[in-house]
Amino acid sequence: MSHLSADVLIVGAGGAGMYAAITAARSGASVLLVDKGQVGRGGATIMAQMTVAVALGEEEPDSPSLHLEDTLRAGRGLCNEELAALVCEEGTTRILEMDQWGVRWARENDHIKQEIAPGHSVKRCCYVDFLNTGPAVAATLRRKVGEIPEIRRVSNLAVIDILVRDARALGAVALNLVDGDLVTIQAKAIVLAAGGLTKIYARNSASANMGGEAYALALWAGAELIDMEFVQFFPIGHLAPRLVGMDPIMWDPFRYKLGGKLLNGQFDEFIDRYGSSDFGKYNATRDIAAYAILKEVEAGRGTPHGGAYLDFRHISEGELRSAFGPVIDRLLANGIDLTKMPVEVGPMAHYHMGGVRVDLNMQSRVEGLYAAGEAVGGANGANRLSGNAITEAFVFGAKAGSTAAEKAKQSKFGWDETLTMVSRNQVEQLRRNAASGGTRPSHLQAELQTLMWENAGPFRSGERLAAALARIEAMQRHDLPNLCVGAERQFNLDLQDWFELRAMLATAEAVVRSALGRTESRGAHRREDFPIADYRLLKNQVVELKDWEFAARWVAPVRLNRSQARHA
């Protein structure tokens, strides 16, 4: 069994993980950056075809405090205001740093171009043309990471357990997908940057390789999770006609630039019936738009694939081409001519507001265990403002990397070989099941995805959530231990699926339990049996494992001192 060692281990090499690697190395640490897929090619960052919100004020006067105001308003009163302020304040530094490193933010008249997006009070959102923000960001960070000799990168290495003794993280066990062997890793500090949980839902829009591993690893290690009930459903993910070569969330930038009418199955505008307005512009926030579309579907006014129409037929081909150039041809290659036909769109799991509960240094309750990017909970409250996800990946990544490196400087390595036995025994047990011919992990993953979409998705009720919880518990107890994985050593995806599924179940349970606990509707969390917001629940829910049982409690949101906010 291979054994690796580094001052700082970073789990997940998307935007946050790569940024953390860079700042950790800059602070003098040796860094091990691992990803279950390929470094800089998995996760959500590379899928971001849209915008990054930062208060550069290049288009019109703006400030971090105004960005913060918009962020807090979108969060429906539940943001951790200190974390949100950190994103808004340090976002500008990071975006300019990325500019120096060679991301080509779209420019106009010698300044970085910024567009308006829903929920923002000024033009604030930067991007890379055409629909290339995420790939450009990922490529820039990959190049930067590659230039730093103190960063060791390993692809196809999936961390399956964080080793903890006396509430201090000592290292990890990982599965090497290439040869099927386990690898042990010793580290003085560990950053969880494995992204969100979109893979636990049948309809999802981000890179579908994020099954909530960061949350599950944190939970098992003894950390707390916060706001796990708040899953963001992106309202206008692409449903039909079948479109390949594009991420399903691609219609967002079209709407920033061109508008586009959102119509129900009877070709009527409808958002105004749900307490917001849209009218061909792009004003409705994500939570309301998602809810409105699914309510229309429920009332029998949906489109054939269970969504709404997005219609650009009133926009000329010239305008379409000047805004999106080559993308128009890609659409035509898929048989989609926007001047002649509307497309079908609908809500999809897109982002998770909840996550690991951390302090301003990104440290969890477990000594030496940090989180970064989407793995962090709290900054976005009940609903994330569009454009804040990449900003947060940069800011939290940079912060986690440097504080983890500082922590490593003050720490000695610890190790306890017996802690690795749990994972070793697990893999041996699974290999013994190999010939049993039983159900494969991918089947159960598919069942869980449908279960979560139908019962813990954009529409929730106590009854549906309880049904989901019962099935999740049964899957954990009865199905998971008896699943069959293949006997192959090389690239055994069944084995990877099994560990992914184990994490998906733990994360799904955290989401469902938190959703059951929040008996109100707020932001992205919609309970049909409690349709309105309850001011008594203007609090955050924290979950943890106590003796391997879930325990939940309520805490007051972290508020900024207002005089401090004004000077931000």
């Binding site: 690796l4 470094v39 590379i46 790939p135 890179s207 006609p241 390949v244 089947h443 192959e488």
Partner: protein
């Protein structure tokens, strides 16, 4: 009547005799070859080794294979309701089935 695509997939590990497995997949207009490979893993044979990450967006660039003899990203290679041969990249070391070693040396253990 519903249409079917037949995927003829090259299987095996290094040092073994390679063989082809045929899988019939229900065809829908607009499907990609990767859609079919993933369908096979979920419904017919989960031991099939394939490499992909982003699934649909052609962003991760990790899903390349030979499709009917041409190097293609399987996520944007259109499926046809006919016989489609899928083989691993010929110039990369084979890991298993359709997976080849495309990871840069400095990202390996």
């Amino acid at each position: 009547m519903s249409k079917t695509a037949r995927l003829r997939i090259s299987r095996g590990s290094p040092g073994e005799a390679r063989y082809y497995d045929d899988f019939d997949v229900p065809y829908e207009e607009g499907m990609s070859v990767l859609d079919a490979l993933r369908w096979i893993r979920t419904h017919l044979d989960s031991t099939l080794a394939i490499r992909y990450s982003c699934i649909n967006a052609n962003a991760c660039k990790t899903c390349m294979a030979l499709v009917n003899g041409e190097v293609e990203y399987t996520c944007i290679a259109k499926l046809r309701p006919s016989i489609i041969t899928v083989e691993p990249l010929p110039k990369r070391p084979l890991i298993r089935d359709l997976v080849t070693d495309i990871v840069p040396d400095e990202e390996k253990l």
